[in-house]
Symmetry: C2
Subunit: 258 residues, 2 copies
Amino acid sequence: MTRRHNRTRGDRGIPEATVARLPVYLRALHSLQEREIATVSSEELAAAAGVNSAKLRKDLSHLGSYGTRGVGYEVEYLVYQISRELGLTQDWVVAIIGVGNLGRALAGYGGFASRGFRVAGLLDADESVVGEQISGLSVRHIDDLEQVIADHGVSIAVIATPAAAAQGLCDRVVAAGVTSVLNFAPVVLSVPEGVDVRKVDLSIELQILAFHEQRKAGGPGEAGAEGWGEDHDGDRADDRARGQEPPETTQYVEAVEA
Amino acid sequence: MTRRHNRTRGDRGIPEATVARLPVYLRALHSLQEREIATVSSEELAAAAGVNSAKLRKDLSHLGSYGTRGVGYEVEYLVYQISRELGLTQDWVVAIIGVGNLGRALAGYGGFASRGFRVAGLLDADESVVGEQISGLSVRHIDDLEQVIADHGVSIAVIATPAAAAQGLCDRVVAAGVTSVLNFAPVVLSVPEGVDVRKVDLSIELQILAFHEQRKAGGPGEAGAEGWGEDHDGDRADDRARGQEPPETTQYVEAVEA
DNA sequence: ATCTGTGAACATGTTCACAGCC
DNA sequence: GGCTGTGAACATGTTCACAGAT
């Protein structure tokens, strides 16, 4: 999606689509580890991860030849390789900006520390929240943002503030040296080259569901395409009949907010 | 991603990638509306949405010919067309299952009602939460799940429970007639054909950021590929040197949890 | 003159099907 | 025999560049 085109020579880049699935495989593998299963076939692991086995094998083949033909993959070894590829063998220091319900949910999220993400700062602009203890951390005032980032070496900022505050705070964390941002605010953040932004947007997810839900009933426009005088164009020679889409089952992977 | 292959005749399906971006365009358009801007060019709207203009035009062309050459798009009309396409001209009834911090954040989220999503039920298994008033709704006991779904005609269920409870609750909502599920629990849900599941997974997002962050420093494996006796294969003739990836700026669109 | 809509070229992602190894 | 790893076929998505409408 962002990867440079025409990669040349040796091409050790892992496709974005694969990177996005590695965490899913990792989770499935951890669950196998808990059940003390030592070896797994691509078929089994794929089922646990909700993908098909060809895709799983192709994905893993981008990391190396870590399986054994006729046997499968050794769970522990694969966990290690994927973790290393994702950079989870080192710790990442995270600051959470905005301590509303969402910020609290994030601060309390277990799968955090367990995956090498250490929350080193909670920040908020609301004086009545500053000082509160949450998951063993004291909430700092947003004025201390740069200080907290510098003191703890924060490299990932999670923005869980209202939309209006997000871009300004993003600019500040980037100026303070943060190069990865996870944005929950419903705005498109702009950042300089070299900074990664990922977006999580609940309302977008719901709208996508609504789109498919509507298809399951009967085509769009049920609620009437009326009341638009103008008769705008009227072209679209191809008929409007969309009919029912085939149903879908697969697990997607897309954007969301809250 | 799930669309059937070899679509034939008339093909009125809108590409998934386009569907995923329509909500983003819609948000940008609403912001233009607030600033009382009546007309917008593909260039301007694309900038506001964080995509390039060719992509925007191609996306909109899937809905119809709603622009005017030499001029641009009429904001209000485009808002209407996209809303209709997404099924936002009708109301969708939502139940939120799990009223922890995340469930509360979702219940209080404004962009909800404003986009045609009506939260008709909050449910939790914890007796100490049942009965609590949140955003004007009284939390119901999870035992009432089927009742709430039937009474209010819920068509979208949001699962914001711990992982262990998610599949069971998913089975129940599906049995009760829900055909769209938004899952925040860190598990792969399996559902019958015809039911849509979307997943939002915070830890996955963080892991993807960590991957890119690691690349910005120097290749993976910094923390050493040691301690794995076995010397497993050792093949991978292509050298391990990944070097620095070019930096990235673009806004992605992917999966997350909390 | 300007800006949309789109065919054609390119790039990425997925699936098939089987060679190759255990 | 069984299962991985992968080339080749297919499908989807993106970008370019320009014809065509206003």
